[in-house]
């Protein structure tokens, strides 16, 4: 069975070329766009929160550039009474603060689209609205000034949008209170007034629109993937975070700053990523659950320390919120290009776990799991997220993050009372004891009689450097056994969707799950049955051989150019070769190789597996 990779999607998908609007009649797609510095994000968030509090599901996305002022930026909201798991290329309501906003979204507009803009603005007077979309000129600035200040023009637009979409404006009030509450009652009231001015203007000048947004009694929370990771870390007992700001991972750090302090922890902003990962390593050696998060360029720097984390057997969660690479790449754009980096980065060979949450809520749960894996197996655990999840704010019922469900497993930590078991005949603690399951005892500094060293040099069971060939093999094998133990003890399974008996098998990893799930619904309506496996465990990962064997077509979908996950999936189903490996530090010798090859040939293949 050959694995087919997804064809290269090169053109931006457009509504006109794709599915007609009526196939998803229940959802509404709304956006506000303008220049960076126009308050686009905060305005979009106010609207998203209002929808969420009104019991509607929300899935947001951002168009943004790596700049603080100017350019084009947009905050987009897809909302429905039912869950929404993806963005689509269709815009129903667009608040355009600049002409460019309209051009940037031209392909997503349709005949029922409504564009709200300020026709009195000098830069917006000659705006041409594409196709049959409805142009809704609202004097945003003038109405905002009437309400108390031009600065509220975005809120006037929100009021106008409420009227167009049939969304009760009272729902906006709570969001405005949340956003402006700390600026005083007067400001909040002015903003409410500004919203109503926008609403009334549309009512009086344009009459009724077809859109009608229902509300429900549900009450959702709204958060993005970075926040979910930060919250997961605190829930899992992470107490030390060191990082260096980088898009799109900074939100993890900003979320934890201040909050982790309430639970006795601390965030330290390091001078660079080299330092950040080493600080986190130090904190973990001291016994704290510790973490760092970064993105591509930062992961490059941290690579230096991966080997030390693994050979010192220090539990550490290293989060990579991927963005477009290589080098500085496209810092504000999506890519799943670091899979190989997290799987293989660093010289030499180390055991490691790579976990990639597939949804915003899974960002929380997989973070909790990452900390348990790190401590149970005393290894680095790579928590691989991406920009798409980092910038997506999504609604969930609060029970999705039921803190009572959080379980903590600290692994083989030994205290004063148990330490005697792990001392050698001279009373020395064996921090790298070659246990059958590969996992050694762990004594936090301060534990009486537990003093020991560890090092990135190959070491013996006491953590002291060695070049002894037998000890080298013992320690390499011991570390590697942890992976086998984890395979036996953990449930590294995929998440399955679609038709389990379908001939077409789609496999993906990371944040594509939502878009694929909704895509499957569209395919089903067109008569395509698909089985979809969403894989959150990259290493160790589920064995998909049987599933692949059972399918006629296998398609691997991922957000990168070369198909990095497709490569590992193909690798998994290849015919096995026999292997001769040597890793005691001595090169191959001619007579030795001749003997080894002879022995390999004389041994049945299964026996060498």
């Amino acid at each position: 069975m050959r694995v087919v990779r997804a064809r290269a999607v090169t053109e931006g998908f457009s509504y006109h070329a794709g599915y007609p609007r009526d196939i998803m009649p229940e959802d509404l797609n709304w956006a506000i766009g303008g220049e960076a510095g126009d308050g686009i994000d905060s305005t979009g968030k106010i609207f998203a929160q209002a929808l969420s509090r009104a019991g509607r599901h929300v899935f947001t996305s951002k168009d943004f550039a790596s700049r603080i002022r100017g350019g084009y930026t947009a905050y987009k909201v897809r909302t429905s009474v039912d869950r929404v798991e993806s963005v689509v290329d269709r815009l129903d309501i667009l608040i355009a603060l600049t002409e460019r906003t309209i051009h940037e979204n031209e392909d997503e507009l349709h005949e029922d689209s409504v564009i709200i803009y300020d026709g009195e603005r000098s830069t917006m007077q000659d705006v041409e609205v594409p196709g049959d979309a409805t142009a809704l000129e609202v004097p945003l600035k003038r109405l905002a000034e009437d309400a108390g200040g031009a600065i509220m023009l975005n809120v006037v637009a929100l009021g106008a949008a409420c009227e167009v979409t049939g969304f009760p404006i009272e729902n906006l009030d709570e969001s405005l209170e949340k956003r402006f509450g700390d600026k005083g009652e007067a400001i909040v009231e002015n903003n409410k007034e500004a919203a109503r001015k926008g609403q009334h203007y549309v009512q009086e000048e344009y009459g009724e629109f077809d859109y009608d947004m229902e509300t429900t009694d549900e009450d959702y929370v709204l958060l993005n993937g970075d926040e979910a990771i930060g919250m997961g870390a605190i829930a899992a007992g992470c107490r030390f975070y060191a990082g260096y700001p980088i898009t799109p991972a900074t939100d993890v750090m900003e979320y934890m700053t201040g909050r982790v302090d309430q639970f006795g922890g601390k965030v330290v902003q390091a001078e660079d990523e080299l330092s950040a990962i080493n600080m986190a390593l130090g904190a973990a050696r001291a016994g704290a659950r510790a973490m760092t998060a970064t993105s591509g360029p930062g992961i490059d720097l941290m690579t230096e320390t991966f080997g030390l984390v693994a050979t010192s057997e220090t539990p550490l969660v290293i989060c990579d919120v991927m963005r477009s690479g290589p080098s500085t790449g496209m810092p504000t754009k999506q890519e799943q290009g670091d899979l190989n980096m997290t799987l293989y980065g660093g010289h030499g060979e180390i055991p490691r776990f790579v976990v990639a949450p597939t949804t915003v809520s899974e960002c929380f749960w997989k973070t909790v799991e990452a900390f348990n894996l790190a401590e149970k197996y005393q290894t680095p655990v790579f928590l691989v997220s991406d920009l798409a999840m980092a910038v997506t704010e999504q609604t969930f019922s609060p029970e999705t993050f039921d803190m009572d469900e959080v379980e903590i497993d600290r692994g083989k930590v030994v205290d004063e009372n148990e330490i005697d078991t792990w001392l050698d005949e001279k009373g020395r603690f064996q921090a790298h004891f070659a246990a059958a399951d590969g996992v050694s005892p762990r004594a936090f500094p301060g534990t009486t009689d537990g003093a020991h060293m560890t090092t990135g040099l190959e070491h013996d069971e006491l953590g002291r450097r060695t070049e002894d060939t037998d000890v080298r093999i013992e320690q390499v094998d011991k570390r590697q056994r942890k992976v086998e133990t984890a395979r036996e003890q953990e449930d590294f399974d995929y998440r399955e969707f679609g038709d389990p008996d379908a001939d077409t098998l789609v496999i993906s990893w990371g944040s594509n799950e939502g878009a694929l799930r909704e895509g499957l619904t569209l395919l089903e309506e067109d008569g395509y049955d698909v089985r979809f496996l969403s894989v959150p465990y990259i290493f160790p990962r589920p064995d998909l051989s049987e599933e692949i064997e059972a399918a006629e077509d296998v398609i691997v979908v991922e957000c990168n150019a070369t198909g990095q996950f497709a490569d590992v999936i193909e690798h998994d189903v290849l015919e096995r070769v026999q292997r001769i490996n040597k890793y005691n530090g001595v090169r191959f010798k001619a007579d030795e190789l001749a003997t080894e090859i002879k022995q390999t040939l004389d041994t049945p293949a299964e026996a060498t597996q």
Binding site: L222, R239, A270, M279, G282, M403, V406, F444
Partner: protein, 287 residues
């Protein structure tokens, strides 16, 4: 802990592989004495060592210890101390580790002022790679990779420290056992980042900055009227490039360590069996 800790308790049973006569022997003995004198014991002490001849110190001493990646010893030490302020943290490395590959961390560790000590074995040469120029090598010092000398002035680490807002700067000499131990002890006792540059001669690869050179050149600050609380006096002494001083050059007695300013109260190692109490409030924040 116990008051009867002797400095030899900090010695491991591994015999050093340093060359006979290496300055690092004396440097290490002073560190062990300082730790014992300040009431520490191996179970509450964490040593972080860099890479190079000096980096081997973690193996020869007995305590909790990590021998890490070249140049990154200071960040590790900061992480250890932040996560458990009850531990005595001592970081040690060489001039290459601290002032070349780790120079960026040195500046920031100094200004961060975490309560730990940093003992640099400065031999003005790369010893473990068999004799190349180090950042503190003299401008005309001929080595295998700098046949005409490095042609650039040496780094002045004490000046770097002063410029970075150091609260404790000292210079020591491994051969003067008594004074060296006293100086390191002061660094350990200092409330903040106690930085000690130690002249720790390399007898194999450096025939310029030798024991004889230092013995002749060095002036003990205790035998002068130097006032270590006076930053201007410290600055003048540190910038006198032709002089070698021994002793505490600068100490800010009002120093408050970073972890204290940041409100870290105790070890972060202990956590509850499930999510911490009040964690559900984190979810409610997202309404």
């Amino acid at each position: 802990m116990s008051s009867d800790v002797r400095f030899t308790d900090f010695k491991s049973d591994k015999q050093p592989t340093w060359c006979p006569g290496c300055g690092d022997f004396g440097t290490m003995n002073g560190m062990m004495k300082a730790l014992a004198e300040t009431g520490n014991d191996p179970d509450n002490t964490f040593i972080v060592a860099g890479i190079g001849c000096s980096g081997k110190i973690g193996t020869y001493m007995h305590s909790y210890a990590l021998h890490g990646v070249h140049g990154r010893a200071l960040p590790v030490g900061i992480g250890v101390k932040m996560a458990n302020p009850d531990l005595e943290v001592m970081v040690s490395g060489g001039d290459g580790d601290g002032y070349s590959i780790g120079a960026g961390h040195f500046i920031h560790a100094v200004r961060r002022n975490v309560d730990m000590s940093y003992v640099v074995m400065d031999n003005r040469i790369y010893g473990l790679t068999k004799g190349q120029a180090s950042p503190t090598s003299r401008e005309d010092f001929e080595t295998s990779t700098s046949p005409d000398g490095p042609n650039q002035p040496p780094v002045n680490p004490k000046a770097l420290a002063l410029a970075s807002g150091a609260t404790f700067i000292a210079q020591s000499f491994s051969s003067n056992a008594q004074r060296h131990a006293e100086i390191v002890q002061k660094a350990v006792e200092h409330d903040g980042f106690g930085f000690v540059n130690v002249y720790s001669p390399c007898v194999t690869f450096n025939d310029v900055d030798t024991y004889d050179y230092f013995r002749d050149a060095i002036v003990d600050l205790d035998e002068t009227d130097h006032d270590p609380s006076d930053r201007d006096q410290a600055k003048d002494k540190i910038l006198e490039s032709e002089k070698e001083y021994m002793g505490v050059l600068y100490q800010d007695e009002d120093s408050v360590p970073f972890e204290e300013r940041e409100g870290v109260e105790g070890s972060m190692a202990e956590i509850p069996d499930g999510a911490p109490e009040g964690a559900m409030d984190l979810v409610r924040e997202f309404y």
